[in-house]
Symmetry: C2
Subunit: 327 residues, 2 copies
């Protein structure tokens, strides 16, 4: 099934069930008022929403209404945990080169993850508020999954049973603040402001063969200011699968229901596929020409992130964000 | 006022108002069923709980019951954000020496913070589940505050109006996992399992002169296996006040209501005050004798953390945890 969260006057919004073609929706409130309420009790509540989804797709619901993606929040307006991996080796090598840092020695054996802010996500059509353009605002087009309660010590083979939803993410980064922050060795804190997620969160069964082995196997399409910026395949070069990333983070802790886990920036070695962030393109320019050419985002710059199935249907709806001044 | 959360069969427990002497409590559920529900709407709900607190202290509530700290969860069983600072320079210098790392060049001008797991806190009397004693399990005795919605760009002078509660924390660390994790430069992730907080969360007005200038000014008393381990004063050597830490983390983001901000491990230069974690004591032993002597915690080791006012009354109740095998 497909789920979304409609903005209302509450912090967590209203949970919706969305039709498979993204056009119609119905409130899930009688079953679960919010996405977190659903995840808190997935095993008891999901089947009722599945039934609602079947009725919605069959046109049997009189209270269904047209979906307006611009009225949606991220599926979780706030979450108890947002753990972002960095599973695409090509991305790690390029962005570390960009900031003059070495990749970790354990690059190919030990997944990289950081804990990101999850208390104030942006909506998929919200502006990206930027206080200072000198901070080097960048987007990062990613895949993210939502976990049910997952026990400490879980193995990669056991992870699939705990994965509930798949969605897209724009993990906003402030590139010019990262080097000083990482130099303190405690993580990205001030260099990673609020992220946004795709309008629709989708159960893995809905994705067919595209969801396979703990990886999404489709191009992730990013446009910058209306022009195609990148469409790398999210599958083959994801060095650590989501199953491996989750097993890694569960080494010393359990995950609680509603935890969001990210893939890191999708990246392919094939340069014709473009990039999923500005930092990579800038580094390639630096390697090729000796100079960074593409600027970071500033006020008015617009990024869209979307993924389509083989028939060209949008799987998760469109993240579509423009950089705006702070209120 | 004083607040607590009683364990029940829900993820967030039941909010209680607790008497100033920690002995009696009453359910806050008619006003706010959970601590997060209170923080989500503090301005509308706090005054009703203040009135309940006055009635409770005056013995006017027939439904008051005796407090049993062993039945309490952390004030927030889960929270949307846990941002832990490291504001005691003496601690930073000692623990970095312990792991052969240099303090950051900006040690005294730029606060250190990391984002910690907030989705599964331990209760103040819960065991500390440890899968592998070789991981080097350590406690860290800290102060923590709870924020209301706090705007991006807030200045230190503006921070006090957004601080709602003060509590204690045991920030559990897996010392032997930290060096490899920090070497990857993305933060502590797997080396920081679930933390626990004191039974009672207290409004700043309740703390009198002990809460002053964005710092608690009282000894933080830690016992290890029944013996006094440390009682450093939490005030004078807190290099960055909570006001400065919050302003730092708000440079690039707003905080949402219920965000918990930590002080880092309390530490005094005066060695007669002991320590608030094992890593410091071990480093002092190494400096003095050439060898680490005190082992990290293993199964059965017990740590208690408590803070008293000048009259000897416990301000926040007692964190009292024993290391246990994983279930």
């Amino acid at each position: 099934m497909k789920l979304a969260t409609r903005k209302n006057n509450t912090r967590d919004g209203e949970l919706l069930v969305v039709s498979s073609d993204n056009t119609r929706a119905v409130s899930a409130a009688p079953v679960a008022p919010t996405m977190q309420a659903l995840l808190d009790d997935w095993s008891a509540k999901a089947s009722a929403l599945d039934a609602l989804y079947a009725d919605l797709n069959a046109g049997r619901l009189a209270d269904a209404f047209a979906v307006d993606e611009s009225l949606l929040h991220s599926p979780f307006p706030r979450a108890y945990a947002w753990i972002d991996g960095s599973a695409y080796i090509n991305h790690i090598v390029l962005v570390r080169k960009a900031r003059g840092a070495e990749p970790p020695a354990t690059l190919e054996t030990d997944p990289l993850v950081y804990q990101g802010g999850s208390d104030t996500f942006l909506g998929p059509r919200d502006g990206i508020p930027l206080a200072n353009p000198d901070w080097g605002c960048d987007f990062e087009s990613e895949i993210a999954i939502v976990m049910d309660d997952t026990p400490q010590g879980v193995t990669p083979d056991e992870v699939p049973q705990y994965i509930r939803l798949v969605m897209l993410c724009n993990d906003v980064s402030l590139r010019n603040l990262i080097p000083a922050e990482l130099a303190k060795s405690f993580g990205f804190f001030v260099s990673k402001p609020s992220s946004a997620f795709s309008p629709f969160a989708v159960t893995p069964d809905e994705l067919g063969e595209a969801w396979n082995g703990g990886r999404m196997h489709r191009p992730l399409v990013t446009h910058l200011n209306g022009e195609l910026y990148g469409n790398p395949d999210s599958g083959p070069e994801m060095h650590f699968s989501f199953h491996e990333i989750v097993a890694h983070v569960c080494k010393t802790r359990a995950l609680s229901a509603g935890t969001i886990v990210g893939s890191g920036t999708i990246s392919n070695k094939d340069r014709s596929k473009g990039s999923s962030c500005l930092a990579e393109k800038r580094m390639i320019e630096k390697i090729d020409t000796g100079a960074f050419v593409t600027p970071f985002m500033t006020y008015g710059d617009r990024v869209t992130i979307e993924m389509f199935n083989e028939q060209g249907d949008s799987l998760f709806g469109r993240i579509d964000q423009t950089v705006v001044p702070m209120d």
